[in-house]
Amino acid sequence: MSARQTDSGSQPAISRTAMLILLAIGPEERHGYAIMGEVARITDGATKLGPGGVYTTIRRLLEDGLIEESDERPDPEMDDQRRRYYRLTGLGRAVVATEARRLESLVAAAKPWALEAR
């Protein structure tokens, strides 16, 4: 399960891989290969997902209603028509925002001493 209820509120917290995939999709519509590349880019290459990691997480995100499959298919001259594109749902955007705020507050707590000490 990629989403679970937190003790502190009704918004779900999500696994790191799920969060990375949501961030990789972002405001765009992206297919698996683009998601894989974007995850590697936003983590500076620290996280390299394989097809299994990408699609098992996508499946859970679909089931949790955090992403949806786009009906539109790419122009056959521009891209392979067999590719499926995914985009965030409203709930998905809300989850990303909540998780980002949570991380932001953690960073703020660490900043006065842990980050300044470097």
Binding site: M1, G50, G52, Y55, R83
Partner: protein, 272 residues
């Protein structure tokens, strides 16, 4: 597409058989395509180095998840008979695994008793698994279960004969010790076939069936026919580990029979 690329795709698609069927139905094409993209980007060798860990770890997660989320209404609690057979199987697998504990108390009589109890457990599992998976393919299921029952019964018969008149195991290959050895070959091979059939039918947990298959083949190989058994070597350690997995597989199958809910009979099956 070149034939080499097609070969990689076929091989990768074969690897995807580790996922549950419903997952494969939705995502295997996309995963094959993504693997092809990945090969193009990072190179074939690097893509293949990453693929097994990626597939095995996520496939295991999908199986565990599927076990948790199978719709309750589509399943039934194990029958009392199923529970009993499962518990016998757990005990049987446990008795096999006890052999890996190096005890001085293991007299030949106790070893034989342990093996008899293991065989009875294996027979119980074969029957229990057949009852559970017969709806998915009665003939195939029978083709897996019957050889296991017959070969284990034969093996037990020889063990009991040896109780009555203990011939030296591993001594001269003369009748009936030679026949006893042949019954062991039949037992390991039929157990491996049973594992393959169970894996193919897909009703029981695929990892248990796969482990049984690999462990049985290891046990067969460990009999020395291929020169693979050599005391004290790394090969011996690997073989013993795989054989221990074989014992574990019976325990896992037993746990599934005894405690995991079973698929409800399909309409066509109950009509037939």
């Amino acid at each position: 597409m070149t034939s080499a690329a097609g070969g990689h795709e076929r091989l990768y698609r074969g690897l995807l058989r580790l996922y549950p069927a419903d997952y494969r139905a939705h995502y295997s094409d996309q995963m094959v395509q993504l693997f092809t993209d990945q090969r193009r980007e990072v190179g074939t060798t690097r893509a293949w180095l990453r693929a097994p860990a990626d597939v095995i770890s996520t496939a295991l997660g999908e199986h565990l998840r599927r076990n948790r989320t199978v719709a309750h209404s589509m399943t039934l609690a194990p029958t009392p008979a199923g529970r009993l057979l499962g518990l016998l199987g757990i005990l049987g697998g446990g008795f096999l695994l006890m052999g890996y504990i190096n005890l001085e108390a293991w007299t030949p009589e106790l070893v034989n008793l342990r093996l008899v109890l293991f065989n009875l457990g294996a027979i119980a599992i074969a029957i229990g698994v057949h009852l559970r998976q017969a709806d998915a393919g009665r003939l195939l299921s029978l083709s897996g279960a019957i050889p296991v029952v017959l070969s284990n019964v034969t093996y037990v018969a020889f063990l009991l004969l040896m109780f009555a008149e203990p011939w030296q195991l591993g001594g001269e290959r003369t009748h009936p010790a030679n026949l006893w050895e042949m019954s062991a070959v039949a037992m390991w091979l039929s157990n491996a076939w049973f594992g393959l059939v169970t894996l193919r039918l897909g009703v029981m947990n695929g990892w248990s069936a796969f482990t049984l298959m690999i462990g049985s083949i290891a046990a067969f190989a460990g009999m020395g026919y291929f020169g693979l058994a050599a005391n004290g070597t790394l090969g011996e350690t690997v073989k013993m580990t795989l054989m221990a997995l074989h014992g574990l597989a019976w325990v896992l199958l037993g746990l599934e029979l005894a405690f995991r809910r079973r698929p409800a009979p399909t309409a066509s099956a109950s009509e037939g």
